[in-house]
């Protein structure tokens, strides 16, 4: 019993230290917008918000202990059971669902909702306990690119595909595709708004381009005989290779312009204040100011291209190119 309690205590400490799911939301542009829109939006935004929030929060805390270590500890069968049953209660979401269930007793409307959330939670909890085949994920099968930056771009693309930002943007993009099929005469303004939302969902990543490279990756960048602007170019090419297809069913040129200015603004925090990121979490950008500037720049550029003139696109490209050159020099100094 004492052994199981000691393990649970250590688990609670480890879980608390790794409480990045909520922290990551704080610096994420999409959640700034969502929080702003929440009062006015319909159930769709609530649903996305709930899904993307639930996903990272529903993991099994017992996974923090490597299975090989757990197998080595001299624990009785009863202690294993105790760990299995007690460890989910380290996750605050379990308490939240329990509280919701108690609150919902006698309220017939909430029973279904509680059941839905509890089922989703249990499903993600169980899925997260299934060991995935190492390195075989579909998200790692990316195509080759022409030129000497090929492998760097592929690596960067894989990094982007291991963030929740991409999946959030993908849900939005797919939802609009579905809407266009079901509602053929979708208002033009709706397409623009959704384009801005998709680019915004990806824009926090532009503020932490080197966050998933790890110490090993940064060390390799230092060793490679390559100019800083080319490293940034490889990062940006991967970002555009994701954002442009996502905005294809929306307003692609407005999306491209928005993505270019998101990168131009994001280079400063990405290079000068690099933040380590966690895979399968939302990207955490720099200071709130960077996020706000990015959001305004994306919205203005996208609406300028979409509603006024296409000349905003080469302008955005010029600003982006200048930013790549400038922060590429900075990157050489920082590395």
């Amino acid at each position: 019993m004492a052994r199981a309690v000691a393990i649970l205590k250590a688990l609670a400490v480890a879980y608390r230290r790794d409480w990045t799911a909520f922290q990551s939301l704080a610096g994420n542009n999409f959640f700034l917008i969502t929080a702003f829109l929440l009062g006015k939006a319909g159930s769709f935004v609530y649903l996305i918000f709930g899904l993307v929030l639930l996903f990272p929060l529903s993991t099994d805390p017992l996974r923090k202990i490597p299975p090989s270590r757990l197998a080595l500890w001299p624990l009785e069968r009863g202690e294993h059971w105790l760990l299995r049953l007690a460890s989910p209660w380290i996750n605050p979401l379990t308490w939240g669902i329990a509280a919701l269930a108690i609150w919902g007793i006698g309220r017939s409307v909430t029973v279904g909702l509680v059941a839905l959330i509890a089922t989703l939670f249990a499903a993600v909890f169980l899925i997260s306990a299934v060991p995935l085949p190492h390195g075989m994920g579909l998200w790692r099968r990316v195509p080759p690119f022409p030129g000497p930056l090929n492998q760097l771009i592929r690596k960067n693309l894989r990094e982007i595909l291991s963030t929740l930002d991409f999946y959030c943007a993908l849900i939005l993009s797919l939802a609009v595709c579905l809407s266009r099929i079901l509602v053929p005469n979708l208002p033009r303004e709706a397409l623009l708004a959704m384009t801005v939302l998709v680019v915004a969902a990806m824009s926090s990543y532009a503020q932490c381009l080197f966050g998933l490279d790890g110490e090993g990756g940064l060390s390799r960048y230092r060793l490679l005989p390559i100019r800083g602007w080319r490293l940034l170019l490889a990062k940006d090419a991967a970002f555009l290779a994701v954002v442009v297809p996502l905005t294809l069913p929306l307003a692609p040129l407005a999306g491209l312009g928005g993505a270019l200015v998101a990168l131009a603004v994001g280079h400063s925090p990405a290079v000068e204040h690099p933040r380590e990121q966690t895979r399968w979490r939302f990207s955490t950008g720099g200071a709130l100011g960077n996020g706000l500037i990015q959001m305004v720049a994306i919205a203005m550029t996208a609406s300028g291209i979409y509603s006024t003139t296409l000349w905003f696109l080469p302008l955005a490209a010029a600003v982006w190119a200048a930013s790549v050159w400038w922060y590429g020099r900075d990157l050489e100094r920082m590395l």
Binding site: R140, P148, N150, Q151, S162, G214, G216, R220, R222, P225
Partner: protein, 247 residues
């Protein structure tokens, strides 16, 4: 090929490397020995242009490492302490990346990659992502990356640690082959038996200062004994609570 003159690096009040003077000739294998924290990695970082010296100078391939870091990087191969691998690239992709960045023609790069994968018994894991590789595979990948561009000087930070004996032998043979072809090798290691077999020159460092520099043939006693005499003497402490009769 490598030349250090009064090389010093300070971090605040702490002097990591103090007044180091050193010459390594072309085609020689120089082993740089010392305990953890002695200043070995700091010295290698200064030699590879990753860290500017506080004072003094270091020249590699005739280039001032601090003034021409990019040109220097084109001429050297490095196996860094942390291996410097990307989790999202496979073993083979790491080697192809190296070829692309160092300007090795694509066909030649592919041929060298195949040869290196074969030589280091990495063929079975060529499509394994670095994040999923064993430590030995990761080390062999970083080793292959250092060799692929055919550098003039190779820097290796603890190349033989945590690898199996067969791989260690293969790596040793490859480094000796490099030296025979005129490539200079500068390595740090804690495995003194391996160093004794491979090195032409032994340099020992302690608390940032050089305490020995000679050809391996001029060591007055075995390398291990000499190391313990000059660098640090091992003290074995008795753990009285160990044993079946104690709780």
């Amino acid at each position: 090929m490598i030349s250090c003159r009064n090389l010093t690096r300070r971090f605040g009040d702490f002097t990591a490397v103090n007044n180091l003077n050193l010459e390594v000739d072309k085609g020689k294998i120089c082993a740089f020995l010392g305990p953890n924290g002695a200043g070995k990695s700091t010295t290698v970082k200064m030699m590879t242009g990753l860290l500017a010296p506080t004072s003094g100078e270091v020249k590699v391939c005739g280039l001032d490492a601090a003034a021409n870091p990019l040109e220097l990087k084109r001429r050297i191969g490095v196996l860094p302490e942390d291996l410097g691998l990307f989790d999202d690239l496979t073993v083979e992709e790491h080697l192809l990346l190296t070829g692309d960045i160092y300007g090795v023609p694509r066909a030649e790069s592919r041929a060298r990659t195949t040869q290196l994968l074969h030589a280091l018994s990495l063929e079975h894991g060529r499509r394994t992502f670095a994040a999923s590789c064993s430590h030995g595979m990761r080390k062999k990948t970083a080793f292959a990356m250092a060799l692929l561009p055919n550098p003039q000087v190779i820097f290796m930070d603890e190349p033989f640690e945590a690898i199996d004996p067969v791989t260690a032998k293969i790596m040793r043979d490859l480094l000796q082959s490099c030296a025979r072809h005129g490539v200079t090798v500068f390595l740090t290691s804690h495995i003194l038996s391996m160093v004794e077999r491979i090195a032409d020159q032994i340099v020992m460092i302690r608390k940032g200062g050089m305490v020995w520099n000679s050809p391996v043939g001029e060591l007055p006693q075995s390398l291990e004994d000499h190391y313990f005499d000059l660098v640090e003497t091992p003290v074995v402490e008795e753990l009285e609570w160990l044993g079946p009769s104690r709780s």
